[in-house]
């Protein structure tokens, strides 16, 4: 492993592929139905798994009668927690955090159930239809223990405990402090405050979760095909839990149909399907239906934030304090823990701003809902929503334009690296540059004039700005999730030229739509000196590298890309050494380019194929000691990681009759460092913003007081469709980071900035009516109620 270092001039290879909008390698197969997602696997005579899930939010399992199901047509086995008790060790999402209780993860509910949708019984049959038929024959007697439907209720003194061993429903509590926030708030010219909420959300990948445990009876080995973005973590965890050594437990993420975080944790079903395959010595398949996916995959947000910000007379934010309650659901997930989402809210709340003093306290509270877990942006969508609302409230109170107040508070170019009040260090990035670029692209001054005209006509027209920064490509010095014991700070690349001269680059990262087969090949092609189309990238397979974790937290371009650069350079030097023998030239005089080694300034060249032949097959050309295997492996660790930043600007109009919000304009100016593939970067921004629009306007998982999910279909849980998403304008501020290649991670940002920008735009549109925005999504129903309340208040005031 190595630490960061800037490329010295001799390292610099002429960029040809990096920076170009190269068409994706993945596309021909995915466009023709030749992709292979987990559900498409066709193992020999597979069995099919179906789960009986709890309809109770919190209940003791008194008795399970599965006798009839065991006799049903096609049924091969029925498993309850009791039947598999000796087949695994529980997986514990450990953390060094104080005030944290790690709930053990079990394949099936044991003793009691803690949310509606938790798997209780597994039926394995010869077809999915027959397995589901048999579920109807199982009787479970429950003794209700009282639903904990909301975090505030779970905090009450007399509330039932979800995990008795924890002794409390508060699974995690933490506080960050810097300076004397009480004194600074007291001294502030203006104080603004609010109680902000982002409701519970589903990441909702289009491919439901899917697993196929393929059993190899020759070796008593399992290959788990999984719709996961962390196949390496799953391999390590299942291997440990089932007591299978790594070479008997391979985990492959084939084509994966999106995740956005929902496929980024270990799931009980992954454990269960491997246990079943091993017990039955057969391959077993399972794919969630949409109801199962929505009601058992990890969920997002669900936080209430009481926050206050103080400003001096010049609009400089001096102080910030916040108390966060996170409704983390029934379990702490592996490996990230239930602290991941809520703790990051307080970690990132000061955002890209130079706020002097800070206090941020958070409690993660267990409730009868599926666990919250990673979701695109993790913590930052809500921390940005809160901080950006407070900025706008401060601007309004002081009579300063929202653009100007941000310009006064953002960390400036000369102030990096900058440690914000919560302790996060921002690496140099274009904070102000993004703000200015977004304002220019949006035509901010013109928009304000348009707004003045619209207001004269009584139209509800608003403009919203949101600036944010995020840590991306995090190295080993910072845990992706607080106190987590597994290393997420490095990634390995293994690049090989085989005896035919073909190039294979293997990685532990796991693309699920990001196009890593393309972008990593772009980097290898440039740094190795190969043609792009000759580089095959393998990823998402635990057998390919000794240790890996996967793709999450905007890390793969930085860590996978950095590993690719270093491994390519090592292999290029080997190629030069062999070529110097073959061409009878000094290695320093050889350039490697387009799959050939060329003596500089001559037409003397050897191809990779000729080099491979000389090394591996032809026993005469090279002396024995010069026959170095043409492969290189490098594990890259960016140590601290890097910073990405953006400003989003939205213009909206609200129809006062229907209360629908129409987005008239959406601009993103972002700094993701050196761009590998601008086409892919734009696509990531578009998709992220569309999810942010969903969070701002439509998407909400509603649980009733009995812990029942009321929005469990795609009819009731509405994600944006094509007519609801506007044309987006993306501007790139490309400043190189200090890590290898100058990359910064960027896959999550769209979802971080958009909810806040739209919330501010809606608040701006409704400001003539005296209405603020403190909860998302702002559905037409919420807007209608706020307008109604405002009207009643106006009448009362008159």
């Amino acid at each position: 492993m190595s630490s960061d270092r800037r490329a010295s001039p001799s390292d610099v290879v002429r960029p040809r592929n990096v920076g170009a909008p190269i068409k994706r390698t993945e596309d021909p197969r995915l466009l023709t139905g030749n992709g292979e997602y987990t559900a498409d696997r066709k193992p020999d005579r597979p069995l099919h798994l179906a789960f009986l899930r709890s309809g109770q939010p919190h209940a003791r399992i008194v008795r399970i009668d599965a006798a009839a199901a065991r006799q049903a047509p096609g049924v091969v086995a029925v498993f309850t927690a009791e039947d598999i008790a000796d087949d695994f060790k529980p997986v514990v999402p450990f953390s060094r955090m104080p005030n944290y209780y790690a709930t053990p993860i079990l394949p099936l509910a044991s003793g009691k159930v803690r949310y509606v949708g938790e798997a209780v019984v597994a039926v394995i049959a010869t077809s999915r239809y027959l397995a589901e038929d048999a579920l109807d024959l199982i009787d479970v007697d429950y003794e209700p223990l009282g639903a904990l439907a909301r975090a505030e209720l779970a905090l009450a003194d007399n509330a039932p405990l979800l995990h008795e061993a924890a002794g409390t429903n508060v699974l995690i509590a933490r506080e960050f402090r810097k300076g004397d926030v009480t004194a600074d708030l007291a001294a502030a010219t203006v104080r603004v405050a609010g109680r902000f909420e982002m409701t519970r959300k589903a990441p909702l990948a289009m491919e439901p979760r899917s697993y196929a445990a393929e059993y190899d009876k020759r070796r008593d080995a399992i290959t788990l095909y999984t719709s996961s973005n962390i196949p390496g973590i799953v391999r390590d965890a299942v291997s440990e839990s089932l007591g299978l050594s790594g070479h008997c437990m391979r985990v492959v993420a084939p084509d994966v149909g999106g995740s956005f975080g929902s496929k980024g944790s270990l799931y009980p079903e992954e454990l269960l399907i491997c246990i079943a395959a091993r017990k039955l010595r057969r391959s077993v398949k399972w794919t969630a239906d949409r109801l199962e996916d929505v009601s058992s995959s990890s969920q997002a947000f669900a936080e209430i934030v009481d926050a206050e910000m103080g400003f001096d007379a010049n609009g400089i934010a001096t102080s910030l304090q916040a108390d966060v309650i996170g409704d983390v659901g029934a379990y702490s997930i592996y490996p990230w823990t239930c602290g991941l989402e809520p703790v990051q809210v307080v970690s990132f709340l000061p955002g890209p701003y130079k706020i002097g003093s800070y206090r941020g306290a958070v409690r993660g509270v267990a409730t009868c809902k599926p666990p919250t877990g990673p979701y695109r942006g993790v913590g930052r969508p809500i921390s940005t929503f809160v901080a950006e609302r407070l900025m706008d409230l401060g601007a309004a109170a002081l009579g300063i334009d929202p653009l100007e107040i941000r310009r006064r508070n953002l960390v400036r170019a000369e102030e990096f690296p900058y440690r914000i009040a919560s302790g996060i260090i921002w690496d140099k990035a274009g904070f102000i540059e993004c703000l200015d670029a977004a304002a220019e692209a949006a035509g901010y001054d013109r928009l304000r004039k348009e707004q003045a005209e619209a207001r004269k006509q009584g139209r509800l027209f608003g403009i919203g700005i949101a600036s944010y920064a995020e840590l991306t490509g995090i190295g080993s010095r910072i845990a992706v999730a607080p106190g987590m014991p597994i290393n997420t700070g490095s990634e390995t690349a293994k690049i090989t030229i085989d005896s035919t001269g073909a190039i294979t680059a293997a990685f532990g990262v796991a693309s699920h739509g990001q196009g890593l087969e393309t972008t990593l090949a772009q980097i290898v092609a440039d740094d190795l000196g190969a043609r792009f189309e000759d580089v095959r990238v393998i990823q998402g397979d635990s057998d390919e590298v000794p240790m890996s974790t996967g793709t999450y937290a905007s890390r793969s371009a930085v860590l996978g890309g950095g590993a690719a650069k270093h491994a390519s350079k090592i292999l290029r030097e080997k190629i030069k050494r062999v070529a110097s023998h073959l061409l009878e030239a000094n290695a320093d005089d050889i350039e490697v380019t387009e799959g050939k080694a060329v003596v500089l300034g001559t037409d003397r060249a050897v191809s990779f194929k000729q080099i491979a032949k000389a090394v591996y097959s032809d026993m005469k050309t090279l002396p024995v000691e010069a026959r170095e295997e043409l492969s290189a492996t490098y594990t890259y660790d960016p140590v601290n990681g890097t910073t990405a930043a953006a400003t989003h600007i939205a213009a909206v109009e609200i129809d006062p009759a229907t209360c629908f919000v129409r987005i008239l304009k959406f601009v993103v100016a972002e700094d993701c460092g050196r761009i590998i593939n601008p086409m892919i970067v734009d696509g990531q921004v578009h998709g992220g913003v569309a999810q942010g629009i969903g969070a701002a306007l439509f998407e909400e998982l509603i649980y009733d007081e009995d812990g029942q999910l009321l929005t469990a279909s795609l009819v009731d849980y509405m994600i944006p469709s094509a007519p609801e998403v506007p044309v987006m304008d993306v501007v790139h501020v490309e400043s190189e980071s200090a890590v290898a290649g100058g990359f910064r991670g960027m896959g999550e940002g769209g979802t971080i900035g958009a909810p806040a920008a739209i919330a501010n735009a809606i608040a701006d549109a409704l400001s003539p009516l005296g209405i603020g925005v403190s909860i998302l999504p702002m559905t037409p129903e919420r807007i209608f109620r706020l307008m109604e309340q405002a009207q009643i208040k106006r009448k009362a005031d008159e």
Binding site: P28, L31, E36, K42, Y129, M206, D682, V715, P723, V725
Partner: protein, 160 residues
């Protein structure tokens, strides 16, 4: 009780016996015929990932029983182009980066084919309206609209 189903899929005739009347067309295509290009995203007719053409019209394969397709002519994503020779719409999806994870893509393509054949698609709003029954979580739709717009322009060029 099982039934016999005879269908033409992508020009090839399949005679399949032992089909349960309750079997969905989506499961039939994937599990009985091995055509796994048709994806199943919700099984309640909302996401559109399983869209196929049945007798020339776009249909959600999860809302139709296999036995109802007896005698029908079906086109799935496998019937459009091949990796070496993408058809016009597939090529435009690649050109405009109209796919990321690729899971909704077969349904988007089949709906797109149906739209291109039947409607003038004068404005991008018409395209967005036509796609409103197909959900994509990755692209934000912008590049899908651009791909269909470009395919429509090529169709017009070809016609004139």
């Amino acid at each position: 009780m099982t039934m016999h189903v005879s269908v033409t899929v992508n020009g090839e005739t399949y005679d399949v016996s032992d089909v349960e009347p309750r079997m969905l067309l989506s499961d039939f295509l994937r599990d009985r015929l091995g055509l796994t290009g048709t994806h199943v995203g919700c099984e309640h007719g909302v996401c559109g990932a399983c869209t196929v053409l049945v007798n020339g019209d776009s249909v959600r394969a999860c809302l139709m029983l296999a036995v109802q397709a007896n005698g029908a002519e079906i086109v799935t994503v496998e019937g459009l182009g091949s990796p070496d020779e993408l058809n016009v719409l597939q090529a435009e999806f690649r050109e405009h980066h109209g796919l990321q994870c690729g899971f909704c893509t077969p349904g988007m393509l089949m709906t797109g084919e149906d739209l291109l054949r039947k409607y003038p698609l004068a404005t991008d709003d018409d395209i967005r309206e036509g796609l409103s029954g197909n959900l994509c979580r990755c692209t934000g739709y912008q590049n899908i609209v651009a791909a269909i717009r470009s395919a429509a322009a090529k169709r017009t060029e070809k016609a004139s």
